[in-house]
């Protein structure tokens, strides 16, 4: 039982990070129907900038929390700048173009950002200085660290803040209006360009925080971390319902759980040696052996399989509304 609980804790924590990144994807898609492939790289840049700051400040003796906060404080503006430039230079001119163009552009931007980061921070894995004293608590045999608790708390807080922004402020109303119908929103006096830029900026800021969380939780950052994280977070956004903000949150957590529980248990389920009839037919099962069809090595596949299943069978995701022409 403690194993199961542990997997749940691991899954939910990893899932929270996915969720924050997924928010960036979902907001941008909701408003301009663009899959911003480069969002993962924004998260990576956030992590790298934070690394540089934290690495420089670590020996200075400041309290760990302050160092991390300063790191975040530096990462957020950099990411905002990156996100805004992306929108202004690469996506805005293609606002009316057929869907293929911004998609290819996004891939191009993603490649450029990745390799710029490579030039600045080198190829190596960067190890975050271990300044945060992490305490481990045991709940019924399952370990949860203070860093994990912090991540969960920050996630919830960010989600609440974003919900507040989207549903209670003028900007949020403008965003929702533009997402529904940009032309009419423009007619109503909303500066559509500014709203879209704001969406990118908020997404980028969230991405920066996600990057810092990732870096401090796993203790490392590398120029390639953006692409894998991005794909998984995008799957999470689609799972929850692309364009739907609570959906992104839910999708992230669910995906994290699926990955953790999948990696933990699928080997056990597909071990053919447990199934009497088959066990007798397979040589390897003798003497307590194992014949595992799908083990934890397929962990990465889960995100993709989830993505494909959702898109094929329920394209609107868990919480989304059915949108025509996308089905």
């Amino acid at each position: 039982m403690d194993t199961f609980l542990q997997q749940v804790i691991n899954g939910v924590t990893a899932g929270s990070v996915y969720a924050i990144v997924a928010l960036g994807y979902t907001m941008v898609y909701g408003i301009i129907q663009l899959i911003n492939f480069a969002h993962g790289e924004v998260v990576m840049i956030g992590a790298m900038v934070a690394f540089t700051v934290i690495n420089t400040l670590a020996p200075s003796g400041l309290p760990a929390l302050a160092v991390v906060l300063i790191g975040t404080g530096c990462a957020v503006p950099v990411c905002i700048l990156v996100g805004y430039s992306m929108e202004r230079l690469a996506y805005r001119p293609l606002r009316g173009a057929p869907r293929l163009a911004p998609l290819i552009t996004a891939i191009g931007v993603s490649i450029i950002l990745q390799h710029l980061a490579l030039m600045i921070w080198s190829r190596n894995v960067l190890a975050f200085p271990q300044i945060i004293a992490s305490r481990t608590y045991f709940i019924g045999g399952a370990a949860i660290t203070s860093v994990q608790i912090a991540i969960l708390a920050i996630c919830v807080a960010l989600m609440a803040a974003l919900a507040l922004l989207v549903y209670r402020t003028r900007l949020g109303t403008a965003m929702r209006a533009t997402a529904q119908n940009p032309q009419v929103a423009g007619l109503m006096g909303i500066d559509v360009n500014r709203v879209i830029a704001a969406t990118f900026v908020i997404g980028a800021a969230l991405g920066a925080v996600a990057g810092v969380l990732f870096g401090t939780y796993y203790g490392l950052a590398q120029y390639t971390m953006g692409s894998i994280l991005g794909l998984k977070a995008f799957s999470a956004a689609v799972l929850g319902g692309i364009g739907n903000i609570p959906g992104a949150m839910l999708g992230g957590i669910v995906l994290g759980l699926v990955e953790a529980l999948g990696a933990g248990y699928i080997g056990d389920f597909t071990d053919l040696c447990q199934y009497g009839l088959l066990a007798r037919a397979i040589d390897a099962c003798e003497g307590g052996g194992h014949f595992i069809l799908f083990g934890s090595n397929y962990q990465d596949v889960f995100a993709f399989v989830v993505l494909i299943l959702v898109l094929v069978f329920r394209p609107q995701g868990l919480l989304g509304e059915r949108v025509g022409d996308r089905a």
Partner: protein
């Protein structure tokens, strides 16, 4: 009209590409010889080209450069010694190529070296590029010695010109496994690998050895070479309560593995292969890395001959990382065989290379009939705030490190280990 433009364009590209390279090799060769021999002898020396291949760009570019430096040191020393072959003075030139650790580029580069008429090759660094390149060298009859490719398949292909001076994964795996078995006596071991050729290979060897010693091994868990979150796999393992965990993979993933393992409360001893036997483990794993075991093929750089260490430091201003003593020895062996045969013709000196016994920076080297190094040593390390060698396994038998140094005699004293990077 468009079609014609298109056709002309295509033709132009081909001609441009063709013209492009005509100048390049000439320019490159000039640049190389200019950089190579500031002290070219006044008498026209016969130029003897030796190739070196390694990843000079990419994830392990630093290791590739380290290897190249080792070979270059040997070449420069030979040039200073003013070697003569067949009565003529010779000048050795190192043709260094970058294979980007990509098999496709590796084969192209091998072809390039064959075209450039090198008489011998030191390299490649990765088994993944050495193996596809080997038939190309074999067809051309050029002897190749690798200083770092550890996949057993390389020398199992029956090529008489393929050698290596470093141990194989099927020697390294059993070495760390039997050390683990005899010293820590675990009853249950978990084996994880990163699903790369290297990681899976060495993990397979470890599992085989452990099973042969009647130790129970859990079903294999895998990650990828980019896994950052090991918690799912580790939680599953924790439930089975193993006494030891072996991981076949690199430090970039091994560090987080051991860190997260300790965070989850796993108390087992963690063992690694040479991919995760670096100081990076300290940085990535933090205090969790304390007490880990790992192995390296060959002897540690600090146990290499003092002469080599000093010369390397003097020339390149950095310390050798891992395999440069091996590439140094490999290049020197090529040269020694040429001297023995008094010729730089591969057809003549290959036979000498096969029987050669050479005392190198990594100890005495001789090749067996497959081209592997006879009695290759494997060193076992532990992490005590930095990596410290604790044992050397040779021919299946493990001796403690201090005893090894005493018996080897003449190797660098353990009291002053060089800082690795």
């Amino acid at each position: 009209m468009n079609k014609k433009v298109g056709i002309t364009l295509v033709a132009a590209i081909f001609t441009f590409a063709g013209c492009g390279e005509q100048q390049k090799p000439a320019a490159k060769a000039d640049a190389k010889s200019a950089a190579e021999a500031p002290k070219a002898p006044a008498a026209p020396a016969q130029e003897v080209k030796i190739g070196h291949v390694g990843p000079l760009t990419g994830q392990i570019a630093h290791l590739g450069k380290d290897n190249e430096n080792g070979a270059r040191l040997a070449i420069d020393e030979a040039n200073e010694a003013k070697v003569q072959l067949g009565g003529q003075p010779v000048k050795f030139t190192l043709v260094a190529e970058d294979d980007q650790a990509d098999p496709k580029v590796g084969t192209t580069v091998a072809q390039k070296l064959v075209d450039a008429k090198v008489v011998g090759v030191v390299g490649h660094l990765n088994s993944g590029t050495s193996i596809p390149a080997s038939p190309i060298y074999n067809q051309a009859g050029i002897p190749v010695i690798s200083g770092s490719a550890t996949n057993p398949k390389l020398t199992e292909q029956g090529f008489k010109n393929q050698f290596r001076v470093v141990g194989r994964d099927d020697q390294q795996g059993p070495a760390i496994a039997s050390y683990l078995a005899t010293e820590r006596k675990p009853k249950l071991v978990a084996v994880i690998d990163d699903a790369t050729a290297y990681g899976e290979g060495i993990a397979n060897e470890v599992e085989k050895t452990l099973k042969a010693q009647n130790i129970k091994v859990l079903p294999r868990e895998k990650g990828t070479d980019k896994t950052t979150d090991w918690k799912a796999v580790l939680t599953k393992i924790r439930g089975q309560k193993p006494d030891a965990v072996f991981y076949g993979g690199m430090d970039a993933t091994g560090g987080p593995l051991i860190k997260q393992g300790r965070e989850l409360g796993i108390k087992a001893v963690f063992a690694f292969g040479d991919g995760a036997c670096t100081e990076e483990m300290n940085k990535l794993g933090g205090p969790a890395a304390e007490g880990l075991l790992c192995s390296q093929a060959g002897i540690p750089p600090q146990a290499a001959s003092k002469k080599f260490l000093d010369a390397y430091k003097k020339k390149f201003n950095v310390d050798p990382i891992i395999y440069s003593p091996f590439t140094y020895d490999a290049a020197n062996m090529l040269i020694a065989a040429m001297k023995q045969a008094d010729s730089s013709d591969p057809k003549k000196y290959l036979a000498e290379l096969q029987k050669l016994t050479y005392n190198g920076a990594t100890g005495p080297i001789a090749f067996d009939d497959k081209g592997d190094r006879k009695d290759a040593e494997i060193t076992i390390f532990t992490m005590k705030s930095k990596l410290e060698p604790i044992a050397v396994v040779k021919g299946g038998k493990a001796v403690s490190y201090d005893e090894f140094l005493r018996s080897a005699g003449g190797a660098a004293p353990a009291a002053a280990p060089a800082e690795k990077k």
